[in-house]
Point group: C2
Chain length 427, copies 2
């Protein structure tokens, strides 16, 4: 065991060295070469459909034999639709503008030097994820586009599929004249590999964990390199006294019920006291019809019950719970200040919205709610890289430093200062 662990550390360290080496070549690579690698990978996925399905079959068989849930097995499957999605995703990433090399804000300084900023790749990015094999393609695609090297560590249940996909990506890189080691997949399913990966700042510039909360918490706690992470999505909508209530019903319906499982789905509805009696029965009927369980504070429960709607008493825990399910907590508050205070205190700083026609109040909500995305008169479900125009996302960050909210290509880059002089010296 001790020796095995040493072997794994040495193996991961070797991956790190290769990634560091490859990252220098990627940083030099032309836009055209990086896009060619993406398009070549897309083409190869189409061409190797059968081989990919055979590799995937191995994962599926093991999952079924282990008695894993059908939903889990479904997420693992490389169906035609999943493969088509991968190809489309790569084509979309290739079509995005290149973030790398952009020079901005070049200004002449009193000394005479011109100072600006150049956008450059971060270097070497570790991605740790669970069992969806499409993350292998999405993550590698974004890292290639942004000129980074990446080390992928997918869930052990998808190891055969991931190896087959990684081999195709590496072939795509080589076809474009780029180093295959710009994308490496950790080939052991031993958990010690994760520990080694997140402990070496010389090999890895940033870790992006994608998966459940416990995975992300463990990685954040143990990592010795920076982590771009996403914890809870406890998203709120506050319906203000100045709201158009028909709009509020439409938006609150969408934010909660369009899909239950995404992190940007609403979990808590806050209603301004003066409109509670008019609004809650309306939205309550929508939720009741769709089978959404309503957990309400006393004031909200009174209104809902009086309207003959089913309601459960909310506990303190409900205000800090991400249900990801047809359950919603509902509270009545006295004005926007109370709503903002509730959101900043109980929320997860992910995405929160106000419904109001009151402009100064809307702007105050935008300023004072301390969340990655803050919205006026829109569904929290819009908090998403595609909807925000970022083109694609590697995740949604609830951190404040570096990348906040949906993380697109820009989050995988940094800016260095560039100085243009003509023999200038400091006096």
């Amino acid at each position: 065991m001790h020796n095995e662990r040493m072997d794994i550390q040495a193996y991961v360290a070797d991956c790190g060295r290769r990634a560091r080496e490859a990252s220098a070549a990627m940083a030099r690579a032309s836009t055209a070469a990086r896009n060619r690698a993406l398009r070549e990978t897309a083409r190869l996925i189409g061409e190797r459909r059968e081989a990919l399905r055979r590799a995937n079959e191995g994962d599926l068989e093991r999952a079924r034999a282990a008695g894993l849930e059908q939903a889990f097995v479904d997420r693992l499957a490389l169906t035609d639709k999943v493969l088509a999605g991968m190809i489309e995703g790569l084509e979309q990433i290739a079509a995005l503008p290149d973030p790398i090399g952009e020079i901005t804000e070049v200004r002449q300084q009193p000394s005479g030097i011109r100072v600006g900023r150049m956008r450059v790749p971060l270097g070497s990015i570790g991605i740790i994820y669970e069992s969806r094999p499409n993350v292998t393609i999405d993550a590698a695609g974004l890292c290639i586009k942004s000129g980074n090297a990446t080390i992928l560590r997918g869930g052990s249940e998808a190891i055969d599929s991931n190896q087959a996909l990684a081999a195709i990506i590496r072939e795509g890189l080589e076809a474009a004249g780029l180093p295959a080691d710009a994308v490496q997949l950790i080939e052991t399913t031993d958990r010690a590999a994760v520990g080694a990966l997140i402990s070496d700042p010389r090999a890895i510039d940033v870790i992006v964990p994608r998966g459940g909360k416990s995975l992300i918490e463990r990685i954040s706690r143990e990592a010795r390199v920076p982590v771009i992470k996403h914890l809870d999505g406890i998203c709120h909508t506050y319906v203000d006294r100045a709201a158009d209530l028909a709009m509020a019903v439409k938006v609150c319906d969408n934010a909660k019920t369009q899909r239950y499982s995404p992190c940007n789905a609403m979990e808590t509805l806050l209603v301004d006291a003066p409109v509670a009696a008019a609004f809650l029965p309306e939205i309550g009927r929508v939720y009741a019809d769709k089978g959404v369980e309503m957990r309400a504070d006393e004031r909200a429960a009174d209104v809902l019950r009086a309207a003959g709607l089913p309601v459960v008493a909310a506990t303190a825990e409900d205000w800090e719970t991400e249900y990801l399910a047809p359950i919603i907590s509902i509270g009545v508050v006295d004005g926007a200040d109370a709503a903002i205070d509730h959101i900043n205190r109980h929320g997860s700083h992910h995405t929160d919205a106000i419904i109001t026609a009151n402009h100064p109040l809307a702007m105050r909500f935008l300023t004072e709610v301390d969340s990655a995305s803050v919205m006026i008169n829109a569904s929290t479900r819009f908090a998403d890289g595609f909807e925000f125009g970022l083109g694609a996302e590697i995740g949604i960050s609830t951190d404040k430093l570096h990348a906040r909210g949906p993380v697109g290509l820009e989050g995988l880059t940094s800016q260095k200062f560039v100085v243009f002089g003509d023999g200038h010296v400091r006096g």
Copy 2:
């Protein structure tokens, strides 16, 4: 001891709660109120000169009694010049444009929502520094301007001076109608307070350590909150075969000798082989005249010796040493690729420059050198918040995430996404 440690933890946790509370008020505060706090603090420093000097006298007496070096005692002294510098610094920060509240990149998306970014304070910032009391004013000033709350932990040798200064800042905040707790000074000199401060992500959003390498390394290793840090400044200048050699002499003289102790002073000179024989005797004479010890590789040493200049053989360690002293390592390389490779391998990713008239080569150096600041035909000494036009700096970051290079007000902020809708829902 155990009880004392518990008390310190509780004390620091209480500071953290107060900072968190104050940060909400600071985020709401108007530009005018924050600037008024800065100007009021400046005015009070002028008014309380005598009281500040008396407090400082306590620190100075203890330092002298402890037999500390004269240079150390000098750095501790609140002379007229130091006080005038503090006042001027605060006035300068007050005069800077407000970074907070800026909304940029608002674009309409296909769904119809408008998505942009709003610049907001980070929240609560911990600053850990050594014994210069002026850092108390500089750091607090930048945090107030950027709408953050801050907890300051200065060196124990300056505790009396720092307490007197912090009291004035808190008075300035209150005069502007802002919470005094937006600036708190840790009043115990127990080291356990640092441990408590860097361990609580709920209380502190980011730590900025300012001081020697060992302090910064210890904090980075132990922190459980993000750190904006600056380690070594092993800065290079590469003199290319296409350089104007007279310009190269002027720039290399300035980069090394204008001041020896700043982190942006040059430590390693790399000279392209074809111009080594012409260039090295010229710059060598400048260095020899100024008493700079030259540690050279074999090829450089041969040229310098042949010119009758004093030279020492460089060891492997020299290429990775930040001297901060009149010592320079000098190597001859075969072209820009070898120089870039040397810099990326042995440097500290701080500031590096090329001297050349060759435009494509200069642009390649800019792109491929993986450092926070990369310069063409300019002295590395320019890597500085004021010289870069940032107005002031809280430090220089050699990290890649969030803030890279000189960190001004922008590094103390984050951007959140803001969404303007009109009842938009996701389809």
